[in-house]
């Protein structure tokens, strides 16, 4: 007990000597200790410890966004690079008057090189499309004319009663009984 009080007195004495020394400060010493100016009294909710924050899961959201970015950029970046290189190195066409005696190909009526490529390799020429449509129109017109004719022919044959469609077969003559008293009027 006496030793404790002596120790305490010694600690108080050393704290008085060098109050800034961390080791000399003790909460239970009633010493006029100096608080270090760098050690400001910040209050962490977690007392300075790194905590595991409890919040609702963002795993699914982050996974979705990650996959979205991945799949969009998977073809997005090559397409963007392709379009950039085409625009920089090949570039758009310039408008010019049609030279004399020269018939431009059907893809040479477009400006952008990718449009020209699509028109040349993928689409049919507009002339061919036009002709295809005209052929369809012609076929349908002929069909409708055929149907009209058929209806009219049917009408005439039914009216007259003797066309091949409304032909009533006459009975075989040998089946008729021509004998006496075969019909009531005889």
């Amino acid at each position: 007990m006496v030793a404790m009080s002596a120790l305490r007195a010694a600690a108080a004495f050393t704290a008085r000597l060098n109050p800034l020394n961390r080791a000399n400060q003790a909460a239970h010493l009633l010493s006029r200790a100096v608080v270090r100016s760098e050690q400001v009294a910040v209050r962490y909710g977690s007392h300075g410890k790194r905590m595991f924050i409890i919040k609702p899961t963002d795993f699914y959201d982050r996974r979705f966004l990650h996959l979205l970015k991945y799949y969009v950029l998977l073809t997005g970046i090559p397409v963007a690079a392709l379009v950039t290189f085409v625009n920089v190195f090949i570039g758009e066409a310039e408008l010019a008057e049609v030279p004399e005696g020269y018939e431009p190909e059907y893809w040479e009526y477009y400006k952008h090189p990718i449009t020209r490529w699509i028109a040349r390799n993928i689409y049919d020429s507009p002339v061919k499309d036009y002709e295809k449509m005209m052929a369809l129109v012609q076929i349908e017109a002929e069909k409708s004319q055929m149907r009209q004719k058929q209806l009219e022919v049917r009408k005439h044959m039914r009216e007259k009663g003797d066309g091949p469609w409304f032909h009533v077969e006459t009975l075989d003559k040998s089946l008729i009984d021509q004998g006496h008293k075969a019909t009531p009027d005889d």
Partner: protein, 170 residues
């Protein structure tokens, strides 16, 4: 560089660059700002453009405007000749598009004139406005209320109605 526009349709106003008559020692902030703009925006953009153009100028190629042949109109088609109807319809559609663009160009000229002349546009732009009025009136008479599903037949019927109304009024 992009194609130059028609200089007669869009005349440039006379340049009004004032003679530099500096009377103070202080720097001119407008000059400073214009130089700043030039060095930070104009010069990089122009050098980039020239670089791209030098790459491009090695293989130039051209595109043309297509000229379509005239085919018989809807009036000149026999009744029941559906192929003729189709060709007349396609020609009518092309003409419709061309007429829309014509009206747009005339409108653009009137707007440019109004912008150029400022407050005195009513006197100075009379010609452009007259042109626009005529063009839009003609367009309205011919293609006016045909609607979204306009076709050559409907346009012809509209014209017939107009002619009948005119004959009745006369």
């Amino acid at each position: 560089m992009p194609q130059d526009y028609d200089k007669d349709a869009y005349p440039e106003p006379p340049r009004q660059t004032p003679v530099v008559d500096k009377q103070t020692v202080l720097p001119n902030p407008a000059l400073i700002l214009s130089n700043l703009f030039y060095y930070s925006v104009d010069l990089p953009v122009t050098t980039f453009r020239n670089a791209i153009d030098s790459i491009r100028s090695k293989n130039k190629y051209y595109y043309y405007h297509q000229q379509f042949r005239r085919v018989p109109e809807l009036i000149d088609c026999q009744e029941g000749d559906y192929v003729c109807y189709y060709e007349a319809e396609m020609q009518w559609r092309r003409d419709h598009k061309v007429d829309q663009e014509i009206v747009k160009i005339v409108q653009e000229r009137a707007r440019a004139c109004q912008q150029r002349e400022g407050p005195s546009y009513k006197q100075n732009c009379a010609k452009e406005f007259q042109q626009f009025k005529e063009a839009s009136r003609a367009y309205q008479l011919r293609y006016g209320d045909l609607g979204a599903y306009a076709s050559a037949r409907k346009c012809l019927m509209k014209q017939k109605e107009r002619m009948m109304a005119q004959a009745q009024n006369a």
